[in-house]
Amino acid sequence: MPVEPVFETRIDRLTILDEHGRFDEELGAGLIPDEDVVALYRHMVICRHLDEIAFKLQRSGRMGTYPENRGQEATSLGAAYALQKKDWLVTCYRENAGLFWRGLPMELVLLHWMGDERGNEIPEGLNVTPLAIPIGTQMLHATGLGWASKYRGDDGIACTFFGDGATSEGDFHEAMNFAANLDLPVIFFCQNNSWAISVPTRIQCSAPTIAQRGLAYGMDCIQVDGNDIFAVVKAVRDAAERARTNQRPTFIEAVTYRLGDHTTADDARRYRDDEELEMWKLRDPMIRLRGWLDARGLWDDSKQASLQEEAEAHIAAAVQRASDIEALPPTEFFKNMYKTMPPNLQQQMSTMRTSSLGRNPETADQSAVS
């Protein structure tokens, strides 16, 4: 018997605005209205400024560890722009731009990194999940959230974000397998930023692309230039359409780069070459978009100068709101363990400063007198 191929495939890479400023008119014309491109660019600049200020807050001791988003703004922003308000954004912790675009108040993210759970108190009606600290576990929640939309028949979808390192985690594979085999409307959006702290992508995945991991689950998959917001928007729109109409998931690998350290607690100079960093700085999604706007007469230096002032005021106000929040009562952490506080927690809360054992003095007294 002859040996025959039973399955053949290829992985496409989508770029619309490339790093040299070339724009694919066929794919890109009319994809995003000009005024929206301007709005997206403005948003990127403001988010970039937040990174700068957050870094300084951490260095001056006013905030805990913070992960810069620098260089990856086009990914989550493009996705959030392409999706609808009812769709879930199930994020990791480098998706500030998308979360703010959706409407998450900026001071909440600051509060989160200032060690305050109020930063995760997501306003009602905003379909986003809190920043996920454990790597590669939140994709399963997206699978469930997408499933719930399908169960209710409301044609909402869930889009989940994670890094290249997260694709080594078991939960990533379980989430992909569930979504594909149960026909769930989920978009898996991998931000391949080349590094998982100090470990390069090749140690997470030895195949030529991460995108092809989706093939194993019978899922549509594509690689996009993650620093090209046009490509991201198109890929997410196509995936959303597939999810809404056919309840089929899509795996998107967005190739981007972490221009900053992993977090403020990291020093990337210990493990990566300056040469690589300098090369990726030339592919910065913000610079690329600015070039597109300039070429079309939609932007200039004076607009940039006033935007910079606006960004500074905007961030300063957010920092002020985060810093001015009222102090939490010391018993606060007991309050949201359960909807109704059980007796053991009531007792521990009421005696937290009066008994080393959390013992109820009343009960102890009863024991002593009887």
């Binding site: 759970e117 454990p134 469930g144 379980e174 397998n177 149960l182 952490f333 359960y338 007796p343």
Partner: protein, 322 residues
């Protein structure tokens, strides 16, 4: 009233809650067409359809993580993990996410999820089919942990668990799935989570247990002929210390019985609490009759491992003679 086994009582509770609330859905391995390996979900796939009774891929973390998402979106998933020995892969999703989502988001997102898990030994099962990991989940704040010892309680507790706004691990002692029948009300009723049941009143000593061990305690008490109070905790987290301490203050003696290993088992916590709350009434040290600090043996020796009426009887003799 119907005369039901524990399996039948749980099945009835599932049916009634699914009829009452269309947000309730069941998912897990083999729960659909097959009706579950213990037949707990028998007939539900046919009755409610594949949309609401779902055979999932074989992945415990996937089942729980996906359920967390379903619950956050406002559904009421009931996830089955086939045996307690397979909870391990789901531990991360249970403790990192299900247990923490409410506090992490200050109530903006919650996880009203029930995780049904057959538990414990005594049925001649293979390795990792006979463990008692309840204390592990009791040590994780944010979860509720329930383990009934009778069909009537099982039905009422499961209905409470399904209606509970927080994640509940509902352990089902497989040794008594079909060991006996009990009159169970056919209408819906709830048994409150967090309230123990005094199975038998007594004045000489207090025995505290849960799950299949309650039956072993009852046998030991009957053999001893003594006037012993038996408390079935029913809920392990948060457990009903009020009922325990009220009893121990009267009897002055306490024995805790569980299948799980001795060290850092829930018996340790109960003994500590009795010491704190009933110290001056105690006539003897609190005794524990438990599994050993070993891996649960394969089934040829499982009855040597599990607390039985004989070992419990020895503890009774010792504590009374102290």
């Amino acid at each position: 009233m119907a005369n039901l086994t524990l399996v039948q009582a749980i099945n009835l509770a599932l049916i009634q809650e699914m009829e009452r609330d269309d947000r309730v859905m069941i998912m897990g391995e083999d729960v659909g067409l097959n009706g579950g390996v213990f037949r707990v979900t028998e007939g539900l796939h046919k009755r409610f359809g594949e949309k609401r009774v779902v055979d999932t891929p074989l992945a415990e973390s996937g089942i729980i993580g996906t359920s967390v998402g379903l619950a956050m979106a406002g559904l009421r998933p009931i996830a089955e993990i086939q045996f307690e020995g397979f909870l391990g892969p789901a531990y991360d999703q249970i403790c990192t996410h299900a247990a923490r989502m409410r506090t992490r988001t200050r109530g903006a997102l919650t996880v009203p999820l029930v995780i049904r898990v057959p538990v414990g030994g005594g049925i001649h099962a293979p390795e990792l089919h006979s463990d008692s990991p309840e204390a592990i989940y009791t040590h994780n704040p944010g979860l509720k942990v329930v383990m009934p010892s009778s069909p009537r309680d099982a039905k009422g507790l499961l209905i409470s668990a399904i209606r509970d706004p927080d994640p509940v691990i509902f352990f089902e002692p497989k040794r008594i799935y079909r060991a006996f029948r009990e009159e169970v009300p056919e209408d819906e009723y709830t048994v409150p989570i967090g309230k123990a049941r005094v199975v038998r009143e007594g004045s000489e000593l207090t025995m505290v247990s849960w799950g299949a061990s309650v039956i072993q305690c009852m046998n030991a008490i009957e053999t001893s002929g003594r006037d012993i109070e038996l408390i079935d905790l029913r809920t392990i987290s948060p457990f009903d210390m009020e009922t325990v301490s009220e009893s121990v203050r009267r009897t002055g003696r306490a024995i805790v019985v569980h299948e799980a290993p001795l060290s850092c088992g829930l018996g340790s916590e109960i003994a500590s609490r009795i010491m704190e709350e009933c110290f001056l009434q105690l006539e003897a040290p609190v005794q524990r009759v438990t599994g050993f600090d070993t891996i649960m043996p394969y089934y040829k020796l499982e009855l040597e491992y599990l607390p039985d009426a004989e070992r419990i009887g020895q503890a009774i003799d010792e504590i009374v003679a102290y």
